[in-house]
């Protein structure tokens, strides 16, 4: 795979990346998209439509429901951000993709980042596409990134799933067992916001409820390319909206 020095691998037909919202097509008072959304990711207020990518599960229901074609998923796979607030998508506003870690952490982790991966109520979708980055096709080892078997060996953790009540203690203990300084990466709608499980008493509405999060990677599950894009932005290997081989 030539990415990130060359173009990224081809994405499938119907791939659902960042949605594009065109509020000029929205009739007054229309809330069809918001009503169709299973996770309340869409807010319609005062003539504007905003979409929370942290809640979005990238199902096509809003796009299917909108009679005006005002909301449509694009093939832009770049979704990761450093702040939860940056996941709020507002028509006409530029998105702020993830910046790199600060200089000190980049010096520590830039060429060697060991991650402990904790599934805390994920459906095995996120786990599968986090795992696939370690296989020969994607080979994240070439960036010095590796999933490790003990928190003691780790520089940070990936959390997937809404953090079930029954995994709360294990997530906390894993975090505590990782030496400082450390980072936390939330992968998938569940880990960011609880996803479709938000509000269930059996879970915590995502990992930010209990730990500071350094990188948010939305999706249900995010495509491996979206996850890798997030990792590489965090390590400063991809910057801004443009990277090698892919004109904006």
């Amino acid at each position: 795979m030539r990415y990130p020095d060359g173009p990224p691998p081809a994405l499938p037909a119907h791939f659902r990346g960042v949605p594009r919202i065109d509020p000029t097509r929205c009739p007054d008072g229309c809330r069809v998209c918001a009503d169709a959304c299973p996770t309340d990711a869409i807010t319609v207020a005062g003539g504007t439509v905003s979409l929370d990518l942290g809640r979005c599960i990238f199902c096509p229901e809003c796009q299917t429901a909108c009679p005006e074609g005002a909301i449509a998923f694009t093939d832009d796979y770049r979704l990761a951000t450093r702040a939860r607030a940056d996941l709020r998508l507002l028509a006409g506003e530029e998105r702020k993709l993830a910046d790199a870690l600060d200089a000190k952490l980049r010096r520590l982790f830039g060429r060697s980042l060991k991650l402990r991966v904790v599934s805390a109520g994920d459906c095995n979708g996120c786990a599968s596409d986090v795992n696939v980055l370690g296989t020969i096709g994607w080979d994240i080892g070439r960036f010095g990134i590796q999933y490790v078997a003990s928190p003691r060996h780790a520089d940070g953790m990936i959390v997937m799933g809404p953090v079930t009540e029954n995994m709360r203690l294990a997530v906390r203990k894993t975090y505590d067992a990782i030496p400082d300084p450390k980072i936390v990466i939330a992968v998938g709608a569940c880990a960011i916001s609880g996803g479709i499980y938000a509000g269930h008493p059996e879970q915590q509405d995502g990992v930010e409820s209990m730990l500071p999060v350094d990188l948010f990677i939305p999706g249900c599950p995010p495509h491996p390319l979206t996850i890798l894009d997030g990792f590489l932005r965090l390590l400063g290997r991809i910057e801004g909206g443009i990277h090698a081989g892919q004109p904006e």
């Binding site: 659902r16 199902c59 805390a120 459906c123 979708g125 296989t135 079930t164 995994m167 599950p221």
Partner: protein, 502 residues
Amino acid sequence: MNGTLLTRRNAEPAPLADVPLVPLAGFRTAVINAVRNDCRVVSYFARMVEDGIELVAVLADDTRSELGFVRSRVTEDRFESLTPECPQVQLFEREIAEQYGIEPVGHPWLKPVRFQQSWRPGHQHFGEPLPGVTDFFRVEGDEVHEVAVGPVHAGVIEPGHFRFQCHGEHVFHLEIALGYQHRGIERALIGGPSAKTIHYMETASGDSTIGHTLAYAQAIEALTGTRVPARAQVLRGIALELERLANHTGDLGALSGDVAYLPAAASCGRTRGDYLNLTAELCGSRFGRGFVRPGGVQFDLPTDRIATLTERLQAATRDTVESAGLLWTTPSVIERFENTGTVEANTCDEIGMVGVAARACGRSIDVRHDFPFGVYRFVHIPVMTAHHGDVNSRAFVRWLELQRSADFVARQLRTLPATPVRMDVAGSLAPDAIVASLTEGWRGEICHVAITDAEGRFARYKITDPSFHNWLGVALALRNGQISDFPLCNKSFNLSYCGHDL
């Protein structure tokens, strides 16, 4: 199927009132007798009714393609356990005790399943739940030791807690405690369907999205009298077999990795992704999210893309067959696979195993064949079996099945019927009805049972992932093995944690 049971076909609805409501003793006899006569318990659960708790059992007669229904009422928060005479219900009864705070009296090992709150406030059979905190079998002796693993494991894998009773490397007994993935799906389904329902199905066990959404869609279509167009039926079959191809291939790769046979591990790891990407070509998601919907499928496959898809499928299958084929001629692999993690055929029957793991014990059960649904009513896929119940047999069944699935997909892509792909579904579900909907996911039998109330809302929706039947098989496979056999045994079953925990 005996006279006490109401019989129906797969995904054929019935008025709830037609399901015999019998006294507990009669319920017990009906289930135990059916199982003695080679039926299997595909679902067994409780639900709240006005005057107490109702038990519902669904049995499968595989040779007659019939599903049998029977129910009974529990009024004093206790009932005589069926488990001593019918071990395959052991986990169902533990679940009933946990969800409703009623006691199956005489259950030999009554303990929590998911460490969840009871659905009946004030009726918590096991007290305040703490994950993993419960009784475990213990072997005593000077040189006996216990090894505890999890909930968090070394790799990228879902959480579960495993306790081994060992003498050196020798494993006397393994006990598995799950529940860490419990998200409250079944509780949240009551009162549905809602906008979230299909997404609960998609993520009940997220690597079996097609299998579970299909079981759900069939249930809804049955309760609304919706006829699914032929093209949608075929596309659903293609998606289900692609899901099987991806996971069987991934499993063969993972098994290769566990015995340090890296050529097949690396190659299957890659071709697994090729199959996931084919699923993504159908619907944009590698896991089939957004594809199956009640009434059909959400995306059509344009004719001009079929040639490319077929080419990609054939290339992926060629690579998979070539690399996984090496396993059967490599002595170091065969030596590790054979006689490791054996489950005897009678044990398989007794505990009610399903799917790949049961077919590896020589049991010829497969929902596609025994309870044909959708396209499988017209196109038959041969049932693949092996006969030793060990890691080798479980791997070999996958190897055989993935080739049949690839043939099926290639053939169906050539002959897609020209119909629409989705029908409108009537607004409300039949009231006071019951339906059991079965599909054959890549792990095995997926069973969904829906019961509606007077308004046509879900009064109860029971999901049984194949993993629920098979986890005890993993524990038994380890007996008299070595701790070092565990990863291999576990992967040879590759069960779902979240599908069990829901």
